[in-house]
């Protein structure tokens, strides 16, 4: 083991990688997402969001109730283009 602390398990991002991106100027979860893909994997941020928001707060001094949240839009979990394109599922 490399003694890493993983914050985003889906995209395999360590706390160090996330802290570096914040120190380089990212101020919100969505900015981090565009830079390093955190929260863009299978769980869509459901596991990492709180831990990453805490890192942003620690470094930038923002308070939790004023810290912007990631934008929520469908789909809330991954779906293949093939399945989405198939339209109505078997409705029996």
């Amino acid at each position: 083991m490399k003694d890493d602390i993983i914050l985003c398990f889906c995209e395999d991002l360590t706390r160090e990688e996330i802290r570096t991106a914040i120190k380089n100027g990212a101020r919100t979860f969505d900015e981090l997402k565009r830079l390093i893909r955190c929260g863009m994997g299978a769980c869509q941020g459901k596991t990492c969001e709180d831990m990453i928001q805490r890192e942003i707060m620690d470094i930038t001094g923002q308070k939790r109730d004023e810290l912007p949240l990631p934008r929520r839009r469908p789909p809330s979990v991954g779906i293949s283009i093939d399945d989405a394109g198939r339209g109505d599922a078997d409705e029996e």
């Binding site: 003694d3 459901k46 709180d50 929520r72 789909p75 979990v77 399945d83 599922a89």
Partner: protein, 356 residues
């Protein structure tokens, strides 16, 4: 496109209770459930519920789940889609779900989100080693599939979930090395904590985990004391020899679809995170969109059942089905009784900030 009077996301205690009440008043109901079974977290609850007034006191969670499942499956007005994961709620009031390698589209007259909660995680070194589990996964392995997660466990978190899962681990013949808790006191009920203490398991408050040890899987953990700012106290590090680390560090309401719906949300640490602002009938600021269970604020199964009943009735009433006002008032009174006393203090405080 499917049409229905009420669509419910989530077939845990809240969703099932709501479906039965709404159908009983004449509503057609569609339930979307991500899992292949109904009952939500209840199916993992091998312990008996307590409480004095409600009808389920003394029953095991898993039996409450079967009871509800049977009633729901007999009810012709309820259509259940198992293995259906809700994906989105759009401005034209259409709900979508991934189902059987395609997509369901539903246009409900009212919507109830009863999606439950997510487990929180905490960062520590090597937290991705096999052998690090959330408490929900440990319960699934043990109580649903009959698989022991390991032989010696470090439990992180002394809330009710941490305490109950520790007890269940011991019942399954698995050793619990210690329970550590960052707060200065046990968060769960004292009756659970003292039972575990009597069985010889230390509960160490003001402690945290610093690292998991091991090369291919967990072989141990390093824990330490923390100060009043929750920072590790140097020199207090201690090694424990375990093959499993179980995290029971809290839950957050699964409110994603409510953000998508445009509900007004409010940060409430007492209720577990961001939750929707609601009225006394559990309707959000988006007309016709209701909430019940952990989505409305982290509590437990009994309050989820009562909230489900209330939301199911209120949703039926909303679209013109007849509902006796006394029934609604009696559920509200039961909820109030359940939340009375010191244990419900944080819930009462949380609700005071989000009810309009």
């Amino acid at each position: 496109m499917l049409e229905t009077d009420l669509a419910i996301v989530g077939a845990g205690p809240a969703g099932l209770a709501a479906a039965l009440e709404a159908a009983n008043r004449g509503s057609n109901v569609i339930i979307l459930e991500r899992d292949e079974w109904l009952g939500g977290q209840l199916i993992k609850q091998t312990h008996q519920f307590f409480g004095s007034k409600n009808e389920f006191a003394g029953m095991r969670g898993v039996d409450i789940a079967s009871h509800f499942t049977e009633l729901v499956e007999q009810e012709k007005k309820i259509k259940v889609f198992k293995g259906a994961t809700a994906l989105g709620y759009y401005e034209d009031g259409v709900l979508t779900a991934a189902y059987k390698r395609g997509m369901l589209k539903i246009k409900p007259r009212t919507l109830l989100i009863a999606a439950g909660a997510l487990e929180k995680m905490i960062p520590f070194i090597n937290n991705d080693l096999p052998g690090v589990y959330g408490a929900g996964a440990v319960q699934t392995l043990m109580n649903v599939y009959g698989i022991a997660p390991g032989e010696r466990v470090l439990m992180v978190g002394a809330g009710n979930i941490g305490l109950i899962v520790s007890y269940q681990l011991m019942q399954a013949g698995i050793e619990v090395e210690a329970i550590i808790e960052a707060a200065p006191q046990v968060g769960g009920y004292w009756v659970h904590a003292s039972k575990i203490r009597r069985m010889g398991v230390p509960i160490k408050t003001r402690h945290t985990i610093l690292k998991a040890r091991g090369t291919r899987e967990v072989e141990g953990a390093q824990i330490c004391e923390i100060d009043e700012n929750w920072d590790p106290l140097p020199g207090t590090e201690k090694e424990v020899s375990v093959d499993t680390i179980c995290l029971a560090v809290g839950l957050s309401p699964m409110v994603e679809l409510l953000w998508q719906a445009g509900c007004q949300m409010q940060l409430s640490p007492h209720l577990g995170g961001y939750v929707p602002v609601r009225n006394g009938n559990l309707e959000t600021t988006v007309e016709g969109v209701f909430i019940a269970g952990d989505v409305a604020g982290i509590e437990e199964a009994t309050s989820a059942i009562l909230e489900g009943q209330l939301a199911g009735l209120a949703a039926a009433q909303k679209i013109g089905f007849e509902v006796e006002e006394e029934k609604i008032q009696s559920i509200k009174a039961n909820l109030k009784t359940l939340r009375a006393g010191p244990v419900g203090e944080h819930i009462r405080q949380g609700l005071a900030g989000v009810e309009r």
